[in-house]
């Protein structure tokens, strides 16, 4: 028997008797406790006293507390220096802090996100960290960027984020030349000023690198550049390529769709709005390695696309709907295929679907469906019926956001959700009364994560809601609630 074998509600009772430092130490013992306690909402719910982000076990938010809680900061660093961490994400916010990190022993991997301007001297100091495996640079001077691209091969980076750095073609050419001498697997060059000239050099070196994820979105790449990058894909290790929002037409993406089976790509983003693109996708998707799809699609091609998905290995499917909204007619087509799809996670964004159509869609999901996560965003209006239709679903998580859902619909959710573990109803029109009565009725449900944020806008009501929810759930098993 070890501590992590105790039931969750007992562990939660024990956690509530500890202070921030104890919880921090506990989180460092192993992956399970780290997983639990690095969720800051859960961490906060364990602590009776007001807590500071500074003692939150995860290092992601380290920049929020610096300078006013140096003691805890130091303690945490000393924990890190001794722990079995292989990877830590550290945000550098101040010079003092940067200096302190040089005390980390060389065996620990460190990821740094530099969000403020650093000078050359500080950058030199960062370069001396032999354990630096991931680096994100924001708001730095061209000289600093220049240093990074020239010296990249002397670092041991696995991830490099150079988005929004005014990276030019010349800079990308130098970087590309050095890439094959690095172990870099993730490279983000989005939101820069890269054109086909830079891409030509990058494509040339790509097959000799270890890069698995490449982001070139929001640059100035044209059709020629797209062709070059696509030609380099079959000989590279790239699993994820984001090349959206560039200077080529969406239909030019057919060039990419046609070579899908020869590439290692697992994630596909795009737009199907022409005969050419749908036929390229249907012919090539099945024999590709694509597991995740995120795209816009016109309704006339939806049926053909879904038929192709049924035969694919796709686990995640998202209809982005920004330029081509997902409407009632599309929902009707989806109804016919929903029980045949291999997809585990379905997301409908910016959809313009009426409630009746969504209800019918939910009715079609069989109890033994592979679908475990359903996210619906921006429905036209949600009244009272949607909660009635979740009765026979075996979903693990359901999100209905920004859909104008009212209190009346909530009560049906409380009665009908059976196996649901996560429910996200943020951004609707729920009131304090509705939320409190809902929380009261779900005390004994299987739910462990509930997001009701962005419903109550009034700050005094918000404080009351948080206090009341804490009171209601205090003596029960943990439900992680965000209001």
């Amino acid at each position: 028997m070890n501590l992590e074998n105790l039931p969750f509600d007992i562990l939660y009772t024990i956690f509530q008797l500890l202070n921030g430092k104890d919880l921090l130490y506990l989180s460092l013992t192993n992956k399970y406790f780290y997983g639990l306690l690095s969720d800051f909402r859960f961490f906060g719910s364990c602590l009776k006293e007001d807590y500071h982000y500074g003692i939150w076990p995860s290092l992601h938010l380290i920049d929020n507390f610096l300078n006013d809680n140096l003691q805890v900061d130091l303690e945490r660093i000393s924990c890190l220096s001794n722990s079995a961490f292989e990877y830590n994400l550290i945000t550098i916010q101040s010079d003092i802090f940067l200096h302190k990190f040089t005390i980390l022993p060389p065996s620990k991997d460190v990821c740094m996100i530099i969000k403020q301007e650093v000078n050359e001297l500080e950058m030199e100091r960062i370069f001396r960290l032999r354990n630096l495996t991931a680096l994100t640079i924001k708001l730095s001077s061209p000289t600093v960027i220049h240093m990074v691209i020239h010296q990249i091969h002397t670092l041991h980076l696995k991830e490099l984020d150079l988005s929004e750095c005014h990276l030019s073609d010349t800079a990308l050419q130098i970087l590309s030349f050095n890439l094959s001498r690095t172990a870099l697997s993730i490279l983000d060059c989005s939101k820069n000023i890269i054109t086909d000239v830079g891409v030509a050099e990058l494509s040339k070196h790509l097959p000799h690198t270890n890069i698995k994820e490449l982001n070139l979105s929001m640059n100035y790449i044209r059709k020629e550049g797209l062709k070059m990058i696509v030609a380099a894909l079959p000989n590279s290790l790239i699993k994820s390529l984001d090349i959206s929002f560039n200077d080529f037409e969406n239909q030019d993406l057919c060039i990419l769709y046609k070579v899908l089976p020869e590439t290692n790509l697992e994630i596909l983003e795009g737009q199907i709005t022409s005969e050419k693109s749908i036929s390229a996708i249907t012919r090539n998707l099945k024999s590709s390695k694509i597991k995740s799809i995120n795209l816009e699609i016109s309704k006339e091609y939806l049926e053909e696309f879904l038929q192709c998905i049924v035969l694919s290995k796709v686990k995640y499917l998202e209809f982005t709907g920004i330029e081509v909204p997902f409407k009632n007619e599309s929902a009707t087509i989806l109804q016919n295929y929903i029980n045949k799809l291999p997809v585990e996670h379905l997301k409908l964004n910016y959809c313009k679907i009426e409630e009746a159509h969504i209800c019918r869609l939910l009715e079609q999901i069989p109890f033994n469906s592979k679908l475990k996560h359903l996210d619906i965003w921006g429905l036209d209006s949600v009244d009272v019926n949607i909660g009635k239709n979740i009765k026979n679903l075996s979903l693990d998580s359901l999100s209905i956001n920004y859909s104008g859902m009212t209190d009346d619909a909530l009560q049906d959710f409380a009665i009908n959700m059976k196996l649901l573990k996560q429910l996200d109803l943020s951004g609707n029109s729920l009131t304090l009364v509705g939320i409190l009565s809902f929380v009261n009725s779900i005390k004994h449900s299987t739910l462990y994560r509930l997001n009701l944020g962005f419903n109550i806008r009034e700050s005094s009501e918000l404080a009351r809601a948080r206090r009341k929810i804490r009171e209601v759930l205090e003596c029960n098993r943990i439900i992680n609630v965000h209001v």
Partner: protein, 159 residues
């Protein structure tokens, strides 16, 4: 005085005074709601050595007033000396007692069990000691996929 029979997972039979064992809400409800008097109540999740400790606790607290509905805020080690003595156990045994208290629904015993664990955690100088004291297995840290997943989730939170 009426008594209640219990059988532990290792088939040992106990006959206990109702007044004593009724500190367990589970047994109390079973006996009063279901009118189980003569037949022994099986406790498949509790061994005899654990039940012995539970009975010691019940004896110490048999004259206590009923616990308040809302738990009172108190310090982690704020418990009577007899309880402290009773809880001087190895973690393995203590965990069994906590699980038994949870199963038998004895809020007072569950409370001192949790307090004792918390107290022991507080006494540890670093996480190595916590790991050793509570037999926490040292697992490998996160895989690359998990880190990617974590980062994605975090970017969502931070916007």
């Amino acid at each position: 005085m009426a008594s209640v029979k219990l059988t532990t997972s290792d088939d040992k039979e106990y006959t206990l005074d109702r007044e004593l064992i009724f500190q367990s809400n589970l047994i109390k409800n079973m006996v009063t709601d279901l009118d189980v008097f003569d037949a022994p109540i099986p406790l498949p999740n509790v061994t005899s050595s654990t039940l012995d400790i539970v009975i010691k606790y019940l004896k110490i607290h048999k004259d206590d007033p009923p616990p308040p509905d809302k738990p009172i805020e108190k310090a982690v080690d704020d418990m009577i000396d007899e309880d402290k003595e009773l809880m001087k156990l190895e973690f393995n045994i203590m965990a069994d007692v906590i699980l038994a208290a949870n199963y038998l629904d004895i809020p007072g015993l569950l409370d001192i069990g949790c307090r004792t664990v918390a107290w022991h955690i507080k006494q540890c100088k670093d996480y190595h000691e916590i790991r050793e004291k509570f037999n926490i297995p040292k697992e490998l840290w996160r895989s690359e996929e998990e880190i990617a997943e974590m980062k994605k989730e975090l970017n969502g939170i931070l916007g």
